[in-house]
C-alpha cells in the first residue's frame, strides 16, 4: 500500500463528521434500493439481472460488430462518431471543433468518463470554459474536487460547506437552506445554458440498432445540455453499447432502482442525431466520441472482460463495508468502491496502487447487488495474485516469501511447532495489550510494523492446547 493511500484512509477514519455523512448517505441509498427491488415491487428482478448479464456479455464479446453498427446508424441520422484512444485525443477533438465553430462556452452534464480523462481541466488549460451543470458536479467544480461517489458526487459535503463555497466563489449571500442553494445554482446555470455553444454529455447507453445515446438523470440538466446549445457531443467508453432499443426494457428497470431506488429516473433521453427537418429545436450537430483509454487492454482478458459490463449504478459502493468507512476520495482514481478497485488496476496497471485489490474484506456484498452480476470478489482475488507476482518479479516480496516458507515448514513439523510455540509463549506477557510492538528489534522491520499498525497478537495462555490434550 502506498503512503498516500494509507494516509487518505487514516484521515477519513479520523474525521467523525465525514464518517457520519458517508454512513448516512450510503445507508439511505441501500434502503431505497432494497424497497425498489423487493419481490413485491419487482417480481422478475433476478431474471432481469440474468438478462442484463447475458446482453452485456453478448455485446462485449462481439463489440467490434456493435461499434460499427452504431457508427453506421449515427451517420444515417446525420451525426458523426469519433474514436479516441485517450483523453488527449478527446480534448484535441473538442478544441478543434470549438475553434472551427467559434464556440466559446461549453455546458456539461454529469459524466464519469469525462472525469476519467480530466476533460474540464484539459479544456480550461486552453482557455475554453466548460461548466458542470449537475448540482453536485457544479459544487465540486467550484471546490476543485473530484466526485466522491459515482451517483452522489458531493455526498461528503454539508449544506454549510456548500453555503460557504457559493458565497466565496459566486459572491452571493451565504445560504444554508438547500432549496435556496439549488435556486442559486439554477439561476447561474440557466444563463450558461442559454449562452453555451456546445453541450457535452456522457452516455448511460449507446444503442447500436438506433445510433442513439441514452441519458438518465433527475435534474433536467442533461436535457438542457442536449437541447439548448447548437452542438451536442457525447463522450462515452466503447463498452457502453447495447444491441437494441428494446434492451432498454431490461437496463432501465435495473439502473434507476439499483442507483437511487427509482423505477425510472425523472428524465430518460433517447437521442439519435441532430434536429431533423421540421423539428423545432435541438442541436444542429451531433457527435459521439468513443473512448478507449485502456478498455481494449482489459478486453483481452476473457475472465476480466466482465468488468466492462458495469452500468455505473453505484450500488456496490453503498453496500461495501470498506467504501462506507474509507469513503470515495481515499481511492486512487475517479472510480471508487468495489468497481473502482477492479477497474483502476486494469485501466492503469496494478502498480498504480498495489494496495487497492487488498482493500476489501471479500464479503461479496458487491456481487450480490450488482445489477449486471459482475463477479467483483473473484476479480479482486485475481488482481491480488497479479500484484504479488509483479512484486516477486521485482524482488520486492522476498522477505514475505521467506517468512511464509518458514511458517509453512514449521507448520509441517509438529515437534518444531510445539517448541516454537513454547518459546513464543515464554516471551509473551500474560496480560493483553499491544505487547509485540514494545519489542524494538521486531518493530524495526517495516513489514512487521505495517502489519502491527492494525493488529495485535493476543496474550499467550498458560498452557497450550497440546499440553491440555495430553493430560486430558
Amino acid at each position: 500500500m502506498s503512503a498516500a493511500f494509507d494516509e487518505k484512509i487514516h484521515n477519513t477514519l479520523a474525521d467523525a463528521n465525514l464518517q457520519l455523512a458517508i454512513y448516512a448517505a450510503t445507508g439511505r441509498l441501500i434502503d431505497h434500493r432494497k424497497h425498489a427491488v423487493a419481490v413485491a415491487a419487482l417480481p422478475d428482478y433476478q431474471e432481469l439481472r440474468t438478462q442484463a448479464n447475458a446482453l452485456k456479455k453478448h455485446t462485449i464479446d462481439h463489440l467490434d460488430y456493435y461499434l460499427e453498427q452504431f457508427e453506421a446508424n449515427v451517420a444515417a441520422h446525420g451525426g458523426k462518431v469519433v474514436y479516441c484512444k485517450d483523453g488527449t485525443e478527446v480534448a484535441d477533438f473538442v478544441l478543434g471543433l470549438a475553434k472551427e465553430r467559434h464556440a466559446g462556452l461549453i455546458v456539461k452534464s454529469k459524466s464519469m468518463t469525462t472525469e476519467e480523462i480530466d476533460l474540464n481541466e484539459r479544456l480550461e488549460h486552453h482557455q475554453l470554459e466548460s461548466v458542470e451543470t449537475d448540482l453536485g458536479e457544479y459544487i465540486l467544480q467550484l471546490a476543485h474536487q473530484k466526485p466522491y461517489h459515482i451517483v452522489a458526487p458531493a455526498l461528503h459535503l454539508t449544506r454549510y460547506e456548500v453555503g460557504d463555497l457559493f458565497a466565496r466563489t459566486l459572491g452571493v449571500a451565504n445560504e444554508t437552506v438547500v432549496e435556496k442553494q439549488a435556486l442559486i445554482a439554477r439561476t447561474v446555470l440557466r444563463q450558461k445554458f442559454l449562452a453555451a455553444d456546445i453541450g457535452i454529455t456522457g452516455a448511460n447507453f449507446l444503442v447500436a440498432d438506433s445510433g442513439a445515446v441514452v441519458l438518465v438523470e433527475n435534474e433536467g440538466n442533461a436535457r438542457l445540455t442536449t437541447s439548448a446549445p447548437r452542438i451536442h457531443i457525447s463522450v462515452a467508453g466503447i463498452e457502453k453499447l447495447i444491441p437494441r432499443a428494446q434492451d432498454l426494457a431490461v437496463f432501465l428497470k435495473l439502473l434507476g432502482r439499483s442507483a437511487t431506488g427509482q423505477a425510472l429516473t425523472v428524465y430518460t433521453s433517447f437521442l439519435s442525431g441532430p434536429r431533423r427537418a421540421g423539428e423545432i429545436d435541438g442541436p444542429e450537430e451531433f457527435y459521439v466520441v468513443l473512448l478507449d483509454n485502456g478498455r481494449t487492454k482489459l478486453l483481452a482478458n476473457r475472465e476480466h472482460r466482465q468488468s466492462l459490463y458495469c452500468i455505473r449504478c453505484g450500488a456496490c459502493l453503498n453496500h461495501c463495508p470498506v467504501y462506507r468507512k474509507i469513503g470515495g476520495h481515499s481511492f486512487p482514481w475517479v472510480y471508487s468502491g468495489p468497481i473502482g478497485a477492479i477497474i483502476t488496476p486494469q485501466f492503469l496497471g496494478v502498480a498504480h496502487e498495489p494496495g487497492l485489490p487488498f482493500a476489501s474484506s471479500l464479503c461479496g456484498a458487491c456481487a450480490e447487488v450488482c445489477p449486471v452480476k459482475i463477479d467483483i470478489p473473484k476479480i479482486l482475488l485475481d488482481l491480488r495474485a497479479e500484484v504479488k507476482k509483479s512484486e516477486e518479479r521485482e524482488g520486492k516480496a522476498r522477505l514475505e516469501r521467506l517468512a511464509f516458507k518458514l511458517w509453512a515448514w514449521v507448520m509441517c513439523h509438529p515437534r518444531i511447532y510445539e517448541m516454537a510455540a513454547k518459546v513464543a509463549s515464554g516471551l509473551a506477557p500474560a496480560e493483553s495489550g499491544k505487547w509485540l510492538r514494545r519489542v524494538p528489534a521486531v518493530m524495526d522491520l517495516p513489514p512487521v510494523r505495517a502489519w502491527l499498525s492494525q493488529r495485535d497478537l493476543p496474550p499467550a495462555p498458560g498452557k497450550s492446547f497440546r499440553e491440555m490434550w495430553r493430560k486430558r
Partner: protein
C-alpha cells in the same frame, strides 16, 4: 486514424476478424399485462401524484380548458403545436402563446414564460411517465425551460408500461431525433440527500387526461 487502431485492438482482443457475423443477441422478454383504459389512466395519475405531480381527470375539452386556465391564473404560457391542445381550446386562453416554428423565437419565450403547455405522444401507467417525441408538433424546450409544465393527454395514449412502449416503438430513432421520458417533476438530492424539486427542469408538473 484512431478508428482503425481501436477497432483492430478490439478484434485482436476478442479473437475476431473484420466483418465476422454475429448471432442474434439474447431475446428480451417484453411483458404487457392486460388492463383497460380506465385502469391505465387511474394508475398513471396515481403514480404521477406519488411523485408530487398534480393530476386532473376531466370529461370534456371545456373542463380541460377550465382547469388549465385556473392553473395559469393570468400567468404567461407557451403552448406546443400539438393539435390536441387546439381541439381543447387551450390556445385561446389569455396569456398563451403558440404556433412557433423557429428555434430562437421559441427559446427566448420559453426562457421567460411561467408555464409550458404540451400534449404527450404516450404516457406509461405503471411509472407515471410522459413520453415526448420531438416533432413539428412538440418542441423540446416547452416541457423543460418554464418552471411549470402542463401536459394534456387523451386517454387512449396511456400505455401500461415501458415494455408496451418498446413494443409499439421498437425503433424510436426512425421517428424522431429525441424521445424523452418524463417521470415526475425535476428533482435533486445532491446536497445532504435533501430532496429539492425544480432544480433545472420544471418543479411543478400537471397531467390532465381528457375524455
Amino acid at each position: 486514424m484512431s478508428r482503425e487502431h481501436i477497432l483492430h485492438k478490439v478484434r485482436t482482443a476478442l479473437g475476431r476478424t473484420a466483418g465476422q457475423a454475429v448471432a442474434d443477441p439474447p431475446t428480451v422478454r417484453l411483458r404487457v399485462s392486460e388492463m383497460d383504459v380506465e385502469t391505465r389512466v387511474a394508475m398513471m395519475l396515481q403514480r404521477v401524484e406519488a411523485l408530487a405531480g398534480k393530476t386532473r381527470r376531466v370529461a370534456t375539452a371545456q373542463d380541460a380548458r377550465a382547469y388549465v386556465g385556473s392553473v395559469l391564473g393570468g400567468k404567461s404560457a407557451v403552448a406546443s403545436n400539438a393539435p390536441f391542445l387546439r381541439e381543447c381550446g387551450i390556445l385561446d386562453l389569455a396569456g398563451v402563446q403558440s404556433g412557433f416554428t423557429a428555434a430562437p423565437e421559441l427559446r427566448t419565450l420559453c426562457a421567460t414564460a411561467d408555464v409550458g403547455i404540451t400534449s404527450a405522444d404516450y404516457a406509461l401507467a405503471d411509472t407515471g411517465t410522459l413520453v415526448m417525441l420531438s416533432s413539428p408538433q412538440e418542441a423540446r424546450l416547452i416541457s423543460l425551460l418554464p418552471p411549470v409544465h402542463i401536459a394534456v393527454v387523451p386517454p387512449q395514449r396511456v400505455l401500461t408500461s415501458l415494455d408496451e412502449l418498446l413494443i409499439i416503438l421498437p425503433h424510436p430513432a426512425e421517428q424522431t431525433s429525441s424521445m424523452v421520458l418524463i417521470t415526475g417533476p425535476s428533482r435533486t438530492a445532491d446536497i445532504e440527500q435533501i430532496l429539492v424539486r425544480g432544480v433545472h427542469g420544471p418543479g411543478e408538473i400537471h397531467v390532465v387526461v381528457v375524455g
